[in-house]
């Protein structure tokens, strides 16, 4: 094999991978229109990508790979439908084979024609990706099925990889996807963009799927590593796509901004050994300034456009956290004011819980603790590990070490991500050391180390099941910004009046 041929193969593989990441949804959506069947369309698109890998090394990479793939996939779908019809009618058509001498010339001509055709197609075809997203995120499907379908159909992620991302067996994930597709066809879930009256509800469900995908990747529900970059990247891609397809939706912009801000801190959330770093201790110079600036512009645009929705407000809060030159220079009163607005548009106990963190900075840990205890009595956050974790942090700052240790133990019993567990174990061990040596404490410290190692092996599967169930609570609004491990509270400042809602640098 020559060196040029080798380079070609690598270039083709890169081009196909690139087209897969960027254009899968577009190609599939355009093919569904012809195939009128999700499964058939999916198979044909898969085949088209395989055909690209086979033929591009000799035929060359087309100028417009997405158009080439679309033509190929649509042609396959049409062939398939014809073949099907033919089989049914039992009238096989005999095609006369082309003469060998003409073949080369014919092939050359065909290729040129196909290239031109493909480019024209891309220009003419309406963008059908929105239909694809809305059918994947239809509320008649269970949310875990919505997530799986979105990854499979809108991102082209193989079922085996989706299964790995959600820590279930491939057979389980395949069954989930198949069941969802069967419901789509049996119950006749329509492949269309919802009419204006239904659009806000339907968009909310699509945004929730993308957000859940992101939070699952941002703080993995279980397992050894904190972040699953593949899921985060897919969610970013989808958020960008939805924003581009629905430019009039402030929430679509808001979600995109929220993901940008949150992900801008990816590099600094854990240290070189994979240990969690508090927001207060993260190296702000390593945050993605470009992403933060882009998010800022999007947020300002949304706030100017009208009353902000849930995602815009969450993005504004996360952005304010990120924009402070140092953690203790964060604009706490404004963050609280934004939380108050958020609680109006999204009255969730999680919002109230996260508000306790800036509240402790402004009104002191005692006031924040009272709020957290009120939420504890409320009961809706039972099983939500960040409640005892925040409570533990506040108690520890108030010098109530024994109670803080108890709260850390509660949080540990609920947390399933090993990185978060390691952080909580570290906090608890620190507290126990502070309280002073006691025979019980010594044994517990040793026990904590053993538990951490054992749990890693045993509970991965169980933890995911539990998390999926627990996701009935909306995912943590800031994707970790408010986790006390990162956004821990420090010295209280004097009580003061909050200004009206504003946002800006």
């Amino acid at each position: 094999m020559t060196e040029a041929a080798l380079t070609d193969t690598a270039a083709v593989e890169a081009a196909v991978a690139d087209a897969h990441r960027r254009d899968w949804a577009w190609v599939l959506a355009a093919t569904v229109r012809v195939a009128r069947d999700l499964d058939l369309a999916e198979d044909c698109v898969q085949e088209a990508y395989a055909a690209a890998l086979r033929t591009w090394p000799s035929a060359g990479i087309p100028d417009n790979p997405a158009a080439w793939l679309t033509t190929t996939a649509r042609r396959r779908a049409i062939d398939h439908i014809r073949r099907d019809a033919t089989l049914r009618s039992r009238l096989p058509l005999l095609v006369e084979p082309a003469k060998a001498a003409d073949e080369a010339a014919a092939r050359e001509q065909r290729q040129q024609r196909e290239h031109a055709e493909a480019d024209a197609l891309r220009a003419v075809l309406p963008d059908e990706r929105l239909r694809l997203i809305f059918i994947c995120c239809h509320p008649a499907l269970a949310q875990e099925a919505q997530v799986a379908l979105t990854l499979r159909l809108a991102c082209g992620v193989p079922v085996a990889d989706i299964a790995r991302a959600f820590l279930v067996s491939e057979a389980t994930m395949a069954a989930r996807v198949t069941r969802a597709k069967r419901k789509i066809s049996t119950a006749r879930i329509p492949y269309r963009i919802p009419p204006p009256g239904e659009l806000p509800d339907r968009l909310r469900s699509a945004l929730a799927v993308i957000h859940l995908l992101f939070t699952t990747g941002h703080t993995a529900p279980a397992g050894a590593s904190l972040v699953r970059p593949d899921l985060v990247d897919r969610a970013m891609h989808l958020a960008r796509m939805l924003r581009e397809l629905m430019p009039a939706s402030a929430d679509a912009h808001g979600l995109y901004a929220l993901l940008l801000v949150t992900d801008a801190r990816r590099a600094t959330r854990v240290d070189a050994d994979g240990r969690l770093i508090r927001l207060a201790d993260q190296d702000r110079s390593r945050w993605d300034g470009g992403a933060l600036a882009e998010a800022h512009d999007v947020i300002v645009g949304c706030l100017r456009a009208g009353p902000p929705g849930r995602y815009v407000l969450q993005a504004a809060i996360a952005s304010l956290y990120a924009e402070a030159p140092a953690y203790d220079q964060t604009d706490w009163p404004q963050i609280i004011a934004l939380y108050d607005r958020l609680a109006v548009v999204w009255p969730s106990p999680i919002v109230a819980l996260n508000r306790a963190v800036p509240l402790a900075m402004v009104a002191g840990p005692e006031a924040a603790l009272a709020e957290v205890e009120r939420l504890e009595r409320d009961g809706r956050l039972a099983g939500y590990q960040y409640l005892p974790a925040i409570k533990a942090d506040l108690l520890s700052r108030l010098g109530r070490a024994d109670e803080a240790a108890d709260a850390y133990r509660q949080a540990l019993a609920l947390a399933a991500n090993e990185t978060e567990r390691a952080f909580l174990i570290g906090q608890l061990a620190g507290l126990l050391a502070e309280v002073g040596p006691s025979p019980g404490g010594q044994a517990e410290r040793a026990g904590l180390a053993r538990t951490a190692a054992r749990r890693r092996l045993v509970t991965r599967q169980r933890a995911v099941t539990r998390l999926l169930r627990r996701r009935r609570h909306p995912p943590s609004p800031s994707c970790g910004v408010f986790f006390p491990a990162e956004g821990g509270v420090s010295a209280p400042t004097a009580d003061r009046e909050w200004p009206a809602v504003r946002y800006g640098r």
Binding site: A140, A187, R188, I189, P190, R192, P194, E198
Partner: protein, 115 residues
């Protein structure tokens, strides 16, 4: 077009044996609207839960099959082009605004005797 069965879930059925026209007004009105629109194929209102009898292999018991807050108070079958259209029709049922809800199920097949 496809057929969907809509099961009405309510605390109890309004169709008691001695129900007055007043008791049934909202139900009847909705039923008339659906019949007029041409989307409803058939409908049955059931008597209250006290009238129900459940049969299992080992026993016959008084009351609905499932011991829950809501019972099936009635059901009807509609024709709609797709699930969204069926859901839109189902949502107009007055029980939805009255603490209950409806379940929409695609029909596989059915049969009724000619009367």
């Amino acid at each position: 077009m496809a057929q969907y069965a809509i099961l009405i879930y309510a605390h109890d059925s309004a169709h008691a044996p001695d129900a007055t026209p007043d008791d049934l007004e909202t139900c009847d009105q909705h039923s008339d609207e659906l019949a007029e629109s041409g989307s409803m194929i058939m409908a049955y209102a059931l008597t209250p839960r006290d009238m129900a009898t459940s049969v299992r292999a080992d026993a016959i018991t008084d009351g609905p099959f499932l011991d829950s807050k809501e019972v099936v108070a009635g059901f009807y079958v509609i024709e709609a082009p797709d699930l969204d259209a069926a859901l839109a029709i189902a949502r107009t049922n007055p029980v939805v605004r009255d603490g209950g809800g409806v379940e929409v199920r695609p029909v596989h097949s059915g049969w009724t005797a000619q009367q």
